[in-house]
């Protein structure tokens, strides 16, 4: 397939387990996963996407600072010429138990194409990404 995607955990967040599982699942589904790991800045995501000609950036945040950390990422992508790169975000994105519809809207307003609630299975985001990238259903082997 040869579609490369950038995967990482943003900000001062060091949750590594889900990151390792997403790496495993997306690689198995045929993506070239460029995993920049935990504690990654917006610049780390953008640089990795430029260097590897990535089609999508997948941002994880588990620790509640997602709102502060993700602000401005879309604008920086546009500045860097990555306006067409698909942006996903998922995890425990905010502090406290908040209505997910509101959280989703907040992150979509920030420029994310899809927003995932905690506990989403990797299979769901893999299927979405294949659809968003126009990869045929028949090649889906999740």
């Amino acid at each position: 397939m040869g579609k490369s995607i950038v995967l990482g955990v943003i900000g001062a967040d060091c949750h590594a387990v889900g990151n390792k599982i997403l790496d495993h699942a997306f690689s198995k589904a045929g993506f070239d996963v460029v995993n920049i790991g935990v504690l990654s800045s917006q610049e780390d995501f953008i640089n990795a996407a430029i260097e590897t000609d990535a089609k999508a950036i997948l941002v994880s945040s588990l620790y509640g600072h997602g709102e502060i950390d993700c602000k401005g990422l879309k604008e920086k992508c546009i500045e860097a010429g990555l306006e067409d790169v698909i942006l996903y975000v998922g995890g425990n994105l905010v502090v406290g138990k908040q209505d997910f519809d509101i959280v989703e809207k907040r992150f979509k307003d920030m420029g994310f194409d899809r927003v995932y609630a905690p506990g989403t299975s990797p299979a769901e985001s893999i299927a979405n990404l294949k659809k968003d990238l126009g990869i045929g259903i028949d090649t889906m082997a999740v």
Partner: protein
């Protein structure tokens, strides 16, 4: 830096301190003499070491939540709620993740935005930004001891501020606050920086102030075999004792198998006592049991069951304290109400099981002996590769994978070890990586995992590991195929 497991000299300590106190503006408010005077007036019921010793002597398991928000008054309100409504015996102040990375400018942004939006945008209490006087304000407005709980590789300024602020316990250590919490900080650096934090506690002790230290037991909180976490806990305890720490709480994170969880705490207690005696350290030891640290079910009733199951294990294991989860765990940081609910559910179990105990039966005894054997094998090898120096040994052991923590983010961790549940739910080694173990021990783990494979009619593999990681959040312990 010439890392050695040797007490930092006064010259060196005070030289480092001069620099540490300049890392953020609030450092200038730390005045050690004045702090000792303040600490000497902190009443016994707010001293961690005294309360833990009392609990241990009386065979009681104390209950402690995790909690922290961005602003001081809101934090005080939160702690009071957990104390009065929840019934917490010990209070935390969970520190936000920017502080943990020493990014105090970003903390300020978080504080400002939290004021503007009238809700906490930080996942904890930015203690360095708030400084000594606000720590004291927190302590003076609650009725329990306060501990800093964080995940900070370089916690030197943080430690100075919290202790001067009257907080009598500090969680962390050179291994446990590096490998699971950092990507590219060397172990030489974190062990050295935590020697400073431990020495600081030691200096307070020498001035008559009791300070409790707690290495972080659960590590990555994900299927960590007990012998790995027990080895880290004992080693960090020994490193702390060398710096003059006198009151230590060693930790363990629930695996989920009752027999294994009880065995792990008993093995930890027995083995720690014998190592401390062997190396000539006179230290008051206690234990902390962390309720399930992995993924939680979203459904709150199911989450309460997980919380209660951990409480049962903590109680029967005889842990000195238990760290509590909340019914919001699957969704992130809890509201104060949910947090209090977790404490109440836990206290109910602790009270119900208070006068009960489980005798040592043969399976439990076998599990204790196996954990001790595996742990000793690791610790002995660490001393060996360090040529007798424990600090040097740890650095070399991680380089070579003699010490290895599953699923950790640090690039200084080999990450070759793989855990998996056996057919009864206990966590075993699927792959030892380079962790040393006798052949019959390795064969024993292999046999147990093959039993599960046969039962599930599939090969023992990494897929099973992934299934195990998600199992509890799906409402089961062992990740069986659907």
């Amino acid at each position: 830096m010439n890392l050695k497991n040797k007490r930092l000299s006064d010259d060196l300590f005070y030289k480092i301190r001069e620099d540490v106190l300049t890392h953020w503006s609030t450092g200038k408010d730390v005045d050690f003499r004045e702090a000792v005077d303040y600490m000497s007036r902190v009443p016994e019921e707010k001293n961690f070491s005294i309360q833990l010793k009392k609990a241990k002597d009386n065979g009681i398991t104390l209950v402690q939540p995790r909690a922290g928000v961005a602003l001081v008054d809101e934090h005080i309100e939160l702690l009071n709620y957990l104390q009065d409504e929840g019934g917490a015996d010990l209070l935390p102040s969970t520190i936000d993740s920017y502080t943990r990375q020493n990014r105090y400018n970003e903390c300020q942004t978080g504080i400002d935005e939290s004021i503007k939006e009238n809700r906490s945008l930080l996942n904890g209490f930015p203690v360095v930004n708030h400084g000594v006087h606000n720590c004291r304000k927190v302590l003076e407005n609650v009725n329990r001891p306060v501990q800093a709980r964080h995940g900070t590789p370089d916690a030197r300024l943080l430690s100075e501020i919290i202790h001067a602020g009257g907080w009598t316990s500090n969680e962390g250590g050179g291994i446990s606050y590096n490998i699971p919490y950092a990507k590219s900080v060397s172990l030489e650096k974190t062990i050295y920086d935590w020697q400073y934090c431990d020495r600081l506690a030691g200096i307070y002790e020498e001035n008559g102030i009791k300070i409790n230290r707690e290495p972080f037991g659960p590590l990555t909180g994900t299927l960590v075999p007990p012998s790995i976490s027990n080895a880290v806990a004992i080693i960090e305890g020994l490193l702390a004792a060398e710096q003059g720490v006198k009151n230590l709480t060693l930790g363990y994170g629930q695996c989920g198998s009752l027999i294994q969880d009880i065995a792990a705490i008993k093995a930890l207690t027995q083995q720690a006592e014998s190592y401390f005696e062997e190396y000539g350290y006179d230290v008051e030891l206690s234990t902390v049991f962390h309720q399930w640290m992995g993924g939680f079910p979203e459904d709150e009733s199911k989450a309460f069951s997980v919380i209660s199951w951990g409480s049962v294990a903590a109680s029967f294991a005889g842990a000195t304290k238990v760290i509590v989860k909340t019914p919001h765990e699957a969704l992130g940081i809890p509201t104060k109400e949910a947090n209090a609910q977790g404490i109440k559910a836990t206290k109910q179990i602790i009270n119900l099981t208070k006068y009960q105990s489980i005798p040592i039966f043969s399976e439990l005894d076998q599990e204790i002996e196996m954990i001790k054997r595996e742990t000793k094998c690791i610790i002995d090898k660490v001393f060996e590769v360090g040529m007798g120096d424990l600090a040097q040994g740890v650095v070399k052991a991680f380089e070579t994978g003699i010490m290895d923590i599953p699923f950790a983010p640090s690039k200084f961790n080999q990450g070759k070890v793989l855990p998996e549940r056996d057919n009864f739910g206990a966590v075993r080694y699927l792959d030892f990586g380079n962790i040393p173990a006798d052949k019959d021990v390795k064969d024993y783990h292999k046999k147990l995992l093959e039993e599960r494979g046969a039962y599930e009619k599939r090969n023992v593999s990494f897929d099973m590991v992934i299934d195990d990681i998600f199992a509890v959040s799906k409402g089961i312990l062992i990740g069986r195929p659907e």
